[in-house]
Symmetry: D2
Subunit: 315 residues, 4 copies
């Protein structure tokens, strides 16, 4: 038996591209509830109030929306070296970069589905300034009630033409574990949900319906409970953001969800809950149908845009 | 830098001793909401509806209440061997046993504070019979609304005369990570909260105020959210169980809690939430005071019995 | 200024007709969570655990599904007499009946949209038997966690060809107050939401799309909070009941809702929350559109069946 | 049988006195989450975001904390006249005043326990300015997430030496209905909970332990659900407000509560839920003991200050 790998610790950050930087930034701060850490080099660095790292979202001005890159934190410098070696053994071309706001040197590469990812170990912890320190020392800062109050980065969903191949790559080189997958009868695998340790998913890979590579389906931040998601629905409506899908319960992961598009067009989720995975020999759950009300747990139909829209938008 | 160990996966099960077996069993089933898997050899084997393993609680008739043993599941057969080697290197006397209902061979030993623990890898997954299969294949069975509906085993709290020494032992031999600890001014360490992967704690070690060794403070099962804990408070009262402490919010772990004593005298918790720990270099949070409302997050006083009562009861 | 009438106290009970009596009864008890009080004369009398009256739902075997009648309780014997006089003055043909399980003499009549209604004052309070008495004397019995645990009767929605006329009748003869109404541009009034005292609605009247008179749109029982509605969604799915609509938030009333059809075909709601109406001069809220995401608060589309299906089913 | 009176509609507003006006005002706005409507004549007029009236709280600078007055809104001008007549018939000395910010002419008088109260009919509805209008027209304005987000005025608790006498007065002259009362064995009545229509209570009268008359025990605003109360506990702690009592569940009313003192010393509650009272012949629930965990539903002890502290503070 091959031992499970525990070499990556968590989703560290994501970079979103936007053609309307000012509006996207305002949305992420005022509506989604993130906090601006700093702006530098045409990018804004943001964080959720419950994030222990300095920054978990980089917003970069670009000519179209989409995913800049995804950063995964290794559990140790040694684990980082081992993962880079595994990538190189597999013939993945990559480069070391010196780092960015919030983290040290990183190995950057493209996954087979075209998204740029990086792995790194050195990360800067957030130190709350006076006035923002929580009365509970095990919390990185006071909670933020602004907008929907997105608390901490949770997971990312990318698109791939060949889901099986990409999830195999993520598993073999980086230690992602397959938790659930969807294979509709007579079709190729339509989705794979993977995680690193105890979460339902840190990474989802779903099928790309177009010929474009490297697209982002959505980025999710978590809130503490389902009531926070319901409250988020009200807040989005009050602040003029249009809800695409939810609140409802996912069938895969069982998370409680709500999706909106930020002004740049990237899909953003407010997520809560999800099953906990403790078994080291978890057997991937095979879903064989989208029908019979099981695309979502309670039978809510998935809107067409949820399958068709991703960023960048295909012309 | 030493790399973090990810060799144990989760709290697998606990064995509670009770002098009133029938009453304890009825309470665990009807009030706490567990399900009886089987009875064998003077013990009952129970499970929460959300547990993926066959059984997570063994209830054994004895002349006094207390902790029979605690079982931890390793992430692989190799990890099991490595942990046994580490224990033996440290001179811990232990024995291999053939297994029990729900798990295979296990290495059993006493921790320095006197509790018996065991580690094992082979574990039997629960297979829901027809009629109890959930409509969601990623859930081990239909949810159970009986009593408070305790869903899955979460953590255990044992007492130790020398908290620092015992937590060091758990860390060095088994890979438990210190997440938070309490050192009141001028006193020895009063408590340590440790976890294996992403949870706030799988194991708490708090100071034993008597000369007895090997005592249990409490065993906790989790429910999905805080509303479930509030509902549990009503259910306990309606069913005649007396609440010792809660519902309220812990300062350490930030979990939402509720404690009762089962008829045998063992303390049982209904727990929800808790911080998530993703940083592989998490710096243990040092709490230096019990005062100023921070024994609990919102200032609720801790009842005297919470510090004095444990099982077995000291004569 | 005409003074507001406070002559009716609350929705007392409803009678549902079903062509599959045994299945409807089993559903109402095991899935919806009501309790059977007694069976008599081909009808079952049921109650929610939070109902203070002996019975709030009468289920009667019939050759088709539909509404038997609706019972409203007057605030006093004198108010009952005054309301009967008002009905008679208006030329409404009615009859006094001796009463039924749970209530005394009642005046029965048909409203202009064809539904049979009755008003009465004498009502039997529920007395919980030993073992079902709550630990809280201000609660009629212990809470019931069976199925979705529907707690108390809340409101009823009937169909009418001429909404304005029927709501005028209910207002002028019985003192129902118009709280909200929907008039889509260029159309007749499509819905009216009316209440007696502080609730968002005790009665909804929506437009009948067919030529049939006297149809029922849905009957609702309330649960305490939104988490209970979310939990109900899981329970319905686990027990094989198909969700028609929800959970989501209504725009009118702001209640949090979930609809299913009981086996006989009658639509049943699990409802929670809703705005509170305290102003004695509440100005009816005029909604002029169903579009732009406001049929439901967060934009969820209304399923076609919600507009087309009612009982009896039009052949 | 005497018919129940429905002559008063709701608690309209309360006036709190404070010796530290600026701090009290800042607390009510930034921490409690109320909104300032205007300041005039040494008083601030505030409102909860869910209040339909222009203002529900008047804060007045004074040399000590306490209750300025309580205002109750009548259901009609005629009901107002009838209640004034009833008061005058009973020999209660009162005066007509011209009105205040938010309401028209009012009849002001002292109840037997010494608090000043007034009744009125004309009330100004709140009209949200552009930018604060909710997307839901049945809501007076956008929700406010600032601080604990107190939503709407709910009830007031005053102290009386002779509870029975004062509740009789409130019932006979103004139509308050007794819902629950507490008579500990061998003692005088210790508390009475009264309401006007469907709420568990609009007014609580509890026993004054000192010789002072006219004191305020607490004023409560409601939030939508129990999660909001739990969230409020975190917010109070983060903002440095010390929690006196709760979150927990009341036995009387079953409301979910949380108490703090505002900087002036007046006790403020965040309240959610509570039983619904629909029966026009509701039989007052008699509580005969404070013991056995029933001062609060789940057994939480009542802090000494909750019985001893009221405003003004007795020197």
């Amino acid at each position: 038996m091959t031992e499970p790998l525990y070499e990556l610790a968590h989703l560290g950050h994501a970079e979103l591209l936007t053609p309307v930087y000012d509006q996207s930034l305002a949305f992420l701060i005022e509506v989604y509830g993130l906090t601006l850490v700093t702006e530098s080099g045409g990018s804004a660095y943001l964080r959720g109030w419950g994030d222990h790292d300095l920054t978990t979202l980089k917003l970069t001005s670009a000519d179209h929306a989409g995913l800049g890159h995804v950063g995964w934190r290794a559990v140790s410098p040694q684990a980082l070296e081992r993962r880079v070696a595994a990538l190189q053994e597999r013939g993945v071309a990559g480069d070391w970069i010196d780092g960015d706001v919030g983290h040290g040197k990183a190995y950057t590469f493209r996954v087979p589905s075209g998204q740029r990812m990086e792995i790194y170990y050195e990360s800067e912890k957030y130190q709350a300034p006076a006035g923002q320190q929580s009365y509970l020392p095990n919390q990185p800062q006071t909670s933020v009630g602004r907008g929907v109050g997105a608390a901490r980065i949770d997971h990312i969903n990318v698109l791939a033409h060949d889901v099986v191949s990409v999830r195999g790559f993520m598993s073999e080189t980086l230690g992602f574990k397959l938790r659930e997958h969807l294979v509709p009868p007579g079709q190729d695998e339509a989705g794979a949900w993977m995680s690193l340790m105890n979460k339902a998913h840190d990474l989802a890979i779903t099928r790309e319906p177009t010929t474009t590579a490297g697209r982002l389906h959505h980025l999710a931040y978590a809130v503490e409970n389902r009531e926070d998601v319901l409250r988020a629905a009200d807040v989005f409506c009050e602040l003029g953001a249009s809800i695409e899908f939810g609140p409802a319960k996912h069938s895969r992961t069982q998370g409680f969800f709500l999706y909106v598009l930020e002004p740049g067009g990237n899909r953003i989720e407010v997520f809560s809950g999800g099953i906990h995975i403790f078994a080291p020999d978890w057997e991937p759950v095979l879903w064989t149908t989208e029908g019979q009300g099981r695309s979502t747990a309670w039978g809510l139909d998935v809107p067409v845009t949820f399958h068709s829209h991703a960023t960048p938008v295909v012309p």
